[in-house]
Each structure stands twice: as structure tokens, then as C-alpha cells.
């Protein structure tokens, strides 16, 4: 085993080695601080009674929104039969899986009583009808079920490992699972709509006491945001992997389809977001006797909103127009802007939202994550990258690649 690990390091290039060291250090730090947080509580974070959530929830919102690319891609491939997406689906499913896995991890850290997390299932807050009263109840259920679905979707990728697939039984299972995948995709999409909406937007939209957040359409906007940003994200990850591996892991035309989808949905998102800001200004803020622009202040000022719009427009500009999208570098700029636009919007929901004073005699507040929060956040991201790397190296993450290698051998 030790030898095995040594070999990996020796085989890798210098840059790769450095990357690996950094990632592993982060994971180790994550482990250390995780113990501290779980055993001695959340006092070590910079969250407080006013800034009730922090880095981890930003991580949650970001991961879930970006992981949303998985259901979109799955939907397009299995339901709409856009077969050109097949080369990217394994990577997509893995990314989706990890995004959700670490959403759980973050959520768990955010609970003051992680050992009681099952209360969410044992004493769910259902309203009168079938619809849950608490957005978090919905998150609990949808997220777990969708996570199970992602697990099932991921299994074929593992089963198709070149050693495993030799086994007849496994090969059959893998085959049938692939065939049945559309049911999963359909169910996944259905569920995704709910938790994307709830965790991404509805959770905030229902807080009618807090004028910064309250807006009934927030739920739906979050779904659009997830589709728009998620597809960009699903493009960029394998793209970066390809650059690192110096191989064409996914054909360009696949990227083109996804980025096109992303660009078009971003147009929708843009319109929605403009409507959102507009209603906030003329309706929801005044309803609470607040002035929309007065609620922007402190460190997380109006620049966040401006930045978000610049990024959205940049994404639309480069992704919608064919002439730009087809040039690799503009596609990359467009998709990156798309991802950043979504991340910025989540940051501003959180940082700006919490920083706004609740009392006229209190000022804007600020939040500066502690080392524990940084370590856990980035440790999780490091885990994700490592897992992705492992899959890229040893599992058929990119069928296209194997396909090509195969061709080359002949």
C-alpha cells in the first residue's frame, strides 16, 4: 500500500505533486478541526446570534446549485435523448454525487446537535397538506432521496471499471441499470426541482419577518439559477480535468450543447433576477417599511449586486452567441462567469442578508470565518477534488477517452 502511494507520487509531475500535497494537507486540517467542532461545539466559528449561518451554508447553497447541473444533464440525456451528452454523463453524475455528499457534510457541521440530525425525519414539520411546513423538512427529505438516486446513478460508473466489468453478472447489472436510468433521471429531476428551490431560495423567501429575503418567487428563481449555473459547472470541471490530463476527455460538441443550454437559461435567469430586484424595490421592501437600497450597506454593499449582474451578462454574452461560444477561450470565460454569477448570488444572499441590521439603532455587521470554518470548507473542497482525481484515474469517468484509446490501439 505504502509502495502504491509512493508510486503515485513518483509517477506524477512536479506540479501534480505539489497539488497533491496541498490537497492532502487541507484534508488533514479538515479532519483535525472537524473533531474540534463536533466535540466542542460551534463556539469556535464566527457565526453568532446575528450572523446565524456562515461559510458552510454558503458552501451548501453553492454546491447544491452547481450540483444541479447533474439533474439537468441527466434529464437531457435520458429523457430528451440528447445522446451527444453521453461522454460527459459519468463525470456529471460523480460531480452531482459529490456536491450532495458534501452538502450533507456541511449541513451536519452546521447543526448544533449533529447527533440529533435524525429528528428531521423522526419529527418532520409537515403542514396541513402533503407539503411540508418547513423548507428544511423538505430539504431533509428531498436531499436524502435525491442523494440515494445519485448513488444508484453512480453505481454503473463503478461497475464499469475494467476489472469489475469482466464479471458476467456485474456486466449484466451495469447494462440494465443503464437502461433503467431514465426512471432515475426523471425522479431525480422531479425531486431536484423541490430541493433546489427550497435550499437555494425558498428557505430565504419564506422568512417573512426579514425584509432582505422575503420574496415568494425566490423558490422558483433558485431552480432556474441551478440549471443555468449547474450546466456551466458541469462543463468546466471535465474541461479543467482535460487540461490537466492534457487529453481530450470530452468532445467539444458535448461542451457546446451544455454551454448553449447554460447560456439560454441564463437569459431566463437574468430576466427573473431583474424582476426579483424590481419587485423587491417596489413591493416587498416597502411592504416592510424598508427602503431596498438602504438595506445595502456595510462591507457587503451594492457592489455585490452589480458584480452579480456583470457576471450574468458576461455569461449570456459569451454563451448565447454562437460565434463566441465556439471559440474555446470565450466559452471558458462565459462558463466561468456563469459559475461565478451563481456563487456571487449565493454569497450575497447570505453575507448581505445577515449583515443588514434588524434594529434601526444597530449597524451593519460583518462576518469573518475562523480558521476552523475555512479549514472545514476548503477541506471538503479538497476531498471533492481528490475523489474526482481518483475517479478520473482509475474509473471510466470519461468513456470518450477510453473509446479513443481503444481506437488508437488498433
Amino acid at each position: 500500500m505504502v509502495q502504491f502511494i509512493k508510486n503515485i507520487f513518483q509517477e506524477s509531475s512536479k506540479n501534480m505533486r505539489i497539488t497533491l500535497y496541498v490537497l492532502i494537507t487541507l484534508v488533514v486540517l479538515f479532519a483535525i478541526f472537524a473533531i474540534q467542532i463536533l466535540f466542542w461545539g460551534l463556539g469556535y466559528t464566527d457565526m453568532n446570534n446575528n450572523f446565524t449561518w456562515g461559510a458552510w451554508i454558503i458552501g451548501d447553497l453553492g454546491l447544491v446549485a452547481l450540483g444541479g447541473g447533474a439533474f439537468t444533464t441527466g434529464y437531457l440525456l435520458y429523457i430528451f435523448r440528447v445522446d451527444k451528452l453521453r461522454p460527459i454523463i459519468n463525470s456529471t453524475v460523480l460531480l452531482g454525487f459529490m456536491c450532495y455528499l458534501f452538502t450533507f457534510v456541511f449541513l451536519l457541521f452546521d447543526l448544533g446537535q449533529p447527533l440529533r440530525c435524525w429528528f428531521g425525519f423522526a419529527y418532520p414539520n409537515w403542514g396541513k397538506g402533503v407539503y411540508p411546513a418547513s423548507m428544511l423538512t423538505e430539504v431533509f427529505f428531498c436531499l436524502s432521496i435525491y442523494f440515494c438516486i445519485l448513488c444508484v446513478e453512480l453505481i454503473p460508473t463503478i461497475l464499469e471499471h475494467k476489472v469489475l466489468i469482466k464479471n458476467k453478472v456485474i456486466a449484466t447489472i451495469a447494462h440494465y441499470m443503464h437502461v433503467l436510468m431514465w426512471t432515475m433521471a426523471a425522479a431525480g429531476t422531479f425531486l431536484s426541482f423541490f430541493h433546489q428551490g427550497s435550499l437555494g431560495g425558498g428557505m430565504w423567501g419564506v422568512l417573512y419577518g426579514r425584509p432582505v429575503w422575503y420574496s415568494p418567487h425566490f423558490f422558483f428563481m433558485a431552480v432556474v439559477a441551478a440549471i443555468a449555473g449547474g450546466t456551466s459547472f458541469m462543463t468546466m470541471m471535465p474541461y479543467i480535468a482535460g487540461k490537466v490530463m492534457k487529453k481530450e476527455v470530452v468532445p467539444m460538441e458535448t461542451y457546446q450543447i451544455l454551454t448553449k443550454v447554460s447560456g439560454i437559461v441564463f437569459v431566463g435567469y437574468f430576466i427573473f433576477r431583474v424582476y426579483d430586484v424590481y419587485t423587491a424595490i417596489v413591493k416587498y421592501a416597502p411592504m416592510n417599511f424598508r427602503d431596498y437600497f438602504d438595506m445595502w450597506g456595510g462591507y457587503y454593499g451594492i457592489w455585490m449586486l452589480v458584480l452579480e449582474f456583470i457576471l450574468i451578462i458576461s455569461a449570456i454574452f459569451f454563451l448565447v452567441q454562437k460565434k463566441y461560444r465556439e471559440q474555446e477561450k470565450f466559452m471558458v470565460i462565459g462558463a466561468t462567469s456563469g459559475i461565478l454569477a451563481i456563487v456571487t448570488s449565493k454569497l450575497s444572499v447570505l453575507l448581505h442578508g445577515f449583515s443588514v441590521p434588524n434594529f434601526p439603532w444597530k449597524g451593519f455587521t460583518a462576518y469573518m470565518p475562523t480558521i476552523q470554518e475555512w479549514a472545514i470548507t476548503f477541506g471538503c473542497f479538497a476531498c471533492m477534488i481528490l475523489i474526482y482525481m481518483i475517479f478520473a484515474k482509475w474509473f471510466p469517468l470519461f468513456p470518450h477517452l477510453e473509446h479513443e484509446e481503444h481506437e488508437a490501439h488498433h
Binding site: 446537535q113 447527533l115 440529533r116 435524525w118 423522526a122
Partner: protein, 641 residues
């Protein structure tokens, strides 16, 4: 029957395991296990139950004599309730009763003075040693080198005064209270009939924030609201009293006396009013010459017309009263100011203010007041009766040095800044553990501490000279009756305060130190006594202490002028030294003024009171007043950077 072969056996086994695990999971047992794990890992404390009972108690350690009803569960006291209002120190009684750092047995110093090292000794040993030293001092003819500092004029203070006088010493002092302060300045303290007045002109007295008798004043306040009594508050910080007042007169810090001079000047010259006080003619001459309205307006920052209006309103009310004694729990004021303000009462012949005296408390001592004693006094034995002069006096540092060379006995329930320098600490009980003529002790004694009365009496019984004059047992203490008697006539004492009045103007306009430092008081913290109690810490406003940072308050324009912004650090330098803090900007403070919270910066006052903020007394003005013997520290000229 088919024989069960190995394979089947394994299958059945596996099935059983799967079934078992499934059953176990669905039975909910693991969740119960989780629940148990939660509780175990969190180690929740469960307070013991018991029969509920209410018992009554009366405080003898405060001047208000607070009456409380104690809610008990079994033998534990869990709540203090009161229908009539309670003073802050009695509000904290429960936290004192169960304070983990309460001194449980008599302690004897075992390390260097001030090192905080003590060892437990028996009551006998402690009292024997102390009384032997007292007897020795008496026999050597140095009785007057025995001194005591009382916290207040409660029964315990009274008894201590009796003891010290019986020993043959004149050195008994009280921490500054409105009583001691005005007694020294006027020859008797002012008895205010707040129920009869219809117009109150307060010179910085925070009447509803703990001034005088806080319990009493709360009632007076409610009564005023009902009756529509007009309150005019003069102050350089917008306190709560200033805000409930009908009129808040913002004034340049430290110039309250000038305003009183101005009003007096106007009433004397324009309204032909006179006072019957001795030396009035002389005093009025000085005031008229030195403080014409135009100058008063410049010194106070209040327009001449406004001063005239206040004076007219005051003079035209049916029964107006002017109140001196700035502050609430930390009291300060020069005799020149107290006399000038009292003069206003005599000018309008107020029926709501009269001079009285306590029959048992004379305030006559070797030195006129505690600060003068700390600065100039010499003592070989010092008894601290629940007092904390090291923290409260501007001469705390000097006193500390002197305490290093003397035998110091601290009678106190907690080791405070002063007790840390003691040779003996004699722990006292909380009033909840003390029996009074009206009630049995509310709770059983928590430790070996004793009632302060008992300690003083047993000590006296061992001192030959004091034996006869002192009560024999605690129940006799209640036979001492402290009556209010009329004080002699009021004198302006011009000869003594003339010098101060002459220097006054210069003091207010010191160019080298352009800014004025004034104290502000914080709810429940009082003059620092509250800081040992965690529930007091819980109520401190973030504009005063936040994340360990201690804030002073500054006017926004002034801050801009000197280049400060919210949260920036500040160095405040006076002629006596410098302190560091952080800045909070607020326009509730007058321009060119820095307001600093009082009662913080304890060197030793349990782990709850330690290391919190700074004690501004260290740098506050230490000019001792010629009559009161107390430093007029209220406003200090400083520079800031």
C-alpha cells in the same frame, strides 16, 4: 429431513443477522441510543428539585434596607423577588450567596502583600492576632493610627464607626456618598422632600439611575410622572435621567458650578434674593464680580437667555429644589459647587431641602475625607469594612503603598482590589444568611463566614478599651438608634473655598489638555461592585464592553476633529497618567468630551470582575477639596491621541 449443510447454515445465519439488524433499526432502539449518547456527551446538569417555599429577608448591608422575598427549593435559594424594588447590590445577593469565589474561612496573608496568596486560619487565631495588634497600638499611645473605611452608612458601618471611636481613634471614613459629600461641604446632609417639590433642577445628579437611595428614587420618579413635576437636568452626557427630564440642558463638562454661580448671580442681582447662610455677602460679592452672566455663558456653553430662563423658572415655581452631587453610585462634586447649588435653594427659600445630621454618624475625622486620608494619612492598622478604596479612590495607588506597611484587615465576602492587599480577610455573610429581629435567616450558612456585626463585636470584645462602649451581642446592635437631627446653620465657608473659586475658571480652560474626561455609569455595574456577578456582565451594553474591548464614548464631530472613527483605539493622557481604550462614537456626549464607563478595570475582584476595561480613577484629577477632603475627579482635562 434434509440435512442442513454448511452453505445453508451460512445463509440462515446471514439472514438472521440481516433480520436482526433490520428489526433493531426499525424498533427505534438505535435512536434511543443516539438520544442517550446526546445526553451523555453533553453532560447536562439537572438542578435538584424540592419543596417550594418563600421566606423573607431584610438587608442590613445596604443603606436602603431592601426587603426581599426569597424563593426556595428545598434548602436552595433560587430567586429574589421584591414588591418594593431592590438596590443593585441586593439584586445580586443570590449570585453573591453562591459565588464560587466567596471567601469561606478567615484568611491570613501567606505571600507578599498584594500577591493574592492567603492561607486559611481559624476565627480565633485571626481575631486574636488582630486584637493583639490593636491593643498594642493603643497601649503604645498610637490609637489614632488605627483607621477604618466603611462602604456606607448601614448598620454595619455604624457599628464600625462606634468601634473605631471607642478605640480612641478619629480615623473613620466613608466612601463618597451623597450623604458624606454634602455633610462635609454644608455641615449636614441635605434632606430632600421630593414628594413636595414641583420643580427639580439637577446639576448632574443622575436621580433615577441610582443617585441617593435608588429604591426610594424609583418611587419618586413614578410619583413625579403622575404629578407632572418638572425636572430640568444639567449634564454633559445625555443619560437616562437627562432623557426623562422635561428639559435637558447640555453643558460643557465640569462647568456645572459655573452655571450655579450664574443663576445665583442673576437671582441676587436681578431678583434681589438673599440667602441667610453665613458669609453670604462675601460670597455673593465674589460671584457677582467673577461670574457675570456673559462669562458663565462662555464657560458653560449655555446662552445667557437660557440661563435667565432657567433661573426665572426656578424662582417662580411653587416649591423648587436644586440638587447637587454629580453621578449616581460614584458620587463627586466640589464643595464650591455643592455650596453654590445649595445656595440656590436658600435663595428661593425652598421647602424641599433642609440640612440634617445623623445622631450617630458625624463624618468628623482626622482628615476631612477618604481621599485626603489616602494621600496624607498615616496608619498602622486599617480595617476595610466592605469597602474598596483602592479601586474607588483616585489615590488608590498611594493607599496601596501605605497598606504595604500596615496591618490591613478586610471584612468582605469577596476578595476585592483592596482586600488583595490585606493581611487578614474576615469573610462576611450575604444578608440572606443573616438573622434579623424581623426574620430568621433565609438560607442556612454556606460556609464559615460570619455576619459583619458579629465580627466587629467579637473583635471589640477582645479590645480592652473598646469593650465597654460596644454592644455585647448582636441583638444589642438594634438598640443603637441613629436619629435624624437638625444640622446647624449653613455657611458659605468663603475663606476655605475662595481659592478654589479663583482657580476654577483656569481649570476649565486648560489649553494643554483640551478635552475633558467625564465618567458615565453603567446599569447594574454601579461603581464597580457589580462586576463580580456574571448576570451583571451579561447585561453590559456592547457599546461599553465588547469582545474584551473597552470603549469610551465620544462626540462624532469631536472624533472627526481629532481623527478618530468608530472602534479606533485611543490613548487618553492626563497630568497624572495615561490609559488606553477604544472609541465609540455617539452624540449623546458633549463636544470636546470623552465619557468613560466607571467601575471597570479591577485588579482583583474574582475571575468575573478581573481584566475588564480600565479604571479611569488612575488618571482622574486628584485635587482634594478643602472641605470634603475628597478629590473632585468628575471632570478631568486630558489630551487624546
Amino acid at each position: 429431513m434434509k440435512k442442513i449443510d454448511r452453505k445453508d447454515f451460512l445463509k440462515i445465519g446471514a439472514g438472521a443477522v440481516v433480520g436482526g439488524v433490520a428489526g433493531y433499526t426499525f424498533s427505534g432502539a438505535p435512536f434511543l441510543g443516539f438520544q442517550w449518547l446526546v445526553e451523555w456527551s453533553q453532560d447536562q446538569y439537572v438542578p435538584a428539585g424540592g419543596v417550594e417555599k418563600y421566606v423573607q429577608a431584610i438587608s442590613e448591608s445596604c443603606v436602603n434596607g431592601c426587603k426581599v422575598s426569597v424563593r426556595k427549593i428545598g434548602e436552595r435559594a433560587v430567586k429574589i423577588e421584591s414588591k418594593e424594588g431592590v438596590c443593585p447590590s441586593c439584586l445580586n445577593a443570590l449570585q453573591l450567596l453562591y459565588h464560587p469565589e466567596r471567601v469561606a474561612t478567615p484568611l491570613k496573608r501567606s505571600g507578599e502583600k498584594g500577591s493574592g496568596k492567603f492561607k486559611a486560619v481559624s476565627w480565633d487565631e485571626a481575631l486574636k492576632d488582630i486584637s493583639a495588634q490593636i491593643n498594642k497600638a493603643i497601649s503604645e499611645g498610637k490609637a489614632n493610627s488605627i483607621a477604618a473605611v466603611n462602604k456606607n452608612e448601614s448598620i454595619n458601618g455604624l457599628l464600625m464607626e462606634k468601634f473605631v471611636r471607642a478605640v480612641g481613634s478619629n480615623n473613620v471614613y466613608y466612601e463618597p456618598t451623597w450623604k458624606s459629600l454634602t455633610s462635609q461641604a454644608l455641615g449636614g446632609y441635605i434632606k430632600y422632600d421630593f414628594a413636595a417639590t414641583d420643580y427639580v433642577l439637577s446639576f448632574g445628579a443622575k436621580l433615577i439611575e441610582g443617585w441617593g437611595n435608588p429604591v426610594e428614587m424609583q418611587k419618586v420618579f413614578v410619583d413625579w410622572k403622575k404629578k407632572g413635576v418638572k425636572l430640568v437636568q444639567v449634564d454633559s452626557v445625555c443619560t437616562r435621567t437627562a432623557s426623562v427630564a422635561n428639559e435637558f440642558v447640555g453643558i460643557k463638562p465640569g462647568s456645572e458650578a459655573a452655571l450655579a454661580f450664574g443663576i445665583a448671580n442673576y437671582l441676587i442681582t436681578e431678583k434681589r434674593m438673599t440667602s441667610t447662610g453665613a458669609d453670604f455677602a462675601k460670597w455673593s460679592q465674589i460671584i457677582i464680580n467673577k461670574f457675570p452672566l456673559s462669562k458663565v455663558a462662555a464657560l458653560t456653553g449655555i446662552a445667557e437667555d437660557k440661563i435667565k430662563k432657567i433661573a426665572n423658572d426656578f424662582a417662580q415655581s411653587k416649591n423648587p429644589v436644586a440638587v447637587a452631587g454629580k453621578g449616581a453610585y460614584g458620587m463627586s462634586g466640589s464643595s464650591a459647587e455643592i455650596i453654590a447649588v445649595y445656595c440656590l435653594n436658600t435663595l428661593v427659600k425652598s421647602r424641599a431641602a433642609s440640612l440634617v445630621k445623623d445622631s450617630e454618624i458625624s463624618y468628623v475625622a482626622e482628615f476631612s475625607g477618604i481621599d485626603k486620608f489616602a494621600k496624607e494619612g498615616n496608619f498602622s492598622i486599617l480595617i476595610l469594612n466592605n469597602s474598596n478604596p483602592v479601586h474607588n479612590s483616585v489615590y488608590g495607588e498611594e493607599l496601596k503603598k501605605k497598606m504595604g506597611k500596615a496591618l490591613v484587615v478586610a471584612i468582605t465576602p469577596l476578595i476585592n482590589d483592596s482586600a488583595a492587599y490585606a493581611d487578614y480577610i474576615l469573610p462576611t455573610l450575604s444578608f440572606l444568611e443573616v438573622e434579623t429581629p424581623q426574620n430568621k435567616a433565609a438560607v442556612i450558612k454556606q460556609n464559615e463566614a460570619k455576619d459583619a456585626k458579629e465580627i466587629i463585636i467579637s473583635l471589640a470584645s477582645m479590645v480592652e478599651k473598646a469593650k465597654a462602649a460596644m454592644p455585647k451581642q448582636v441583638s444589642d446592635v438594634y438598640n443603637i438608634s441613629n436619629k435624624e437631627v437638625a444640622a446647624g446653620s449653613f455657611s458659605f465657608n468663603v475663606d476655605k473655598i475662595k481659592n478654589d473659586i479663583d482657580l476654577y475658571e483656569k481649570k476649565l480652560t486648560d489649553k494643554e489638555y483640551p478635552v475633558t474626561l467625564v465618567p458615565m455609569e453603567v446599569p447594574l455595574v454601579c461603581n464597580g461592585e457589580g462586576l463580580a456577578f456574571p448576570y451583571v456582565l451579561k447585561s453590559i451594553d456592547p457599546t461599553i464592553l465588547k469582545l474584551g474591548k473597552f470603549y469610551v464614548q465620544m462626540n462624532k464631530d469631536t472624533a472627526k476633529k481629532y481623527g478618530f472613527s468608530e472602534g479606533s483605539s485611543i490613548k487618553i493622557t492626563s497630568a497624572r497618567g495615561k490609559i488606553k481604550a477604544y472609541v465609540h462614537l455617539t452624540d449623546t456626549v458633549a463636544p470636546e468630551t470623552v465619557a468613560i464607563p466607571l467601575g471597570f478595570g479591577h485588579e482583583s475582584y474574582t475571575k468575573y470582575g478581573n481584566d475588564k476595561g480600565v479604571n479611569p480613577k488612575k488618571i482622574m484629577t486628584a485635587d482634594i477639596d478643602p472641605l470634603t477632603g475628597i478629590a473632585d475627579w468628575w471632570s478631568t482635562r486630558v489630551k487624546i491621541s
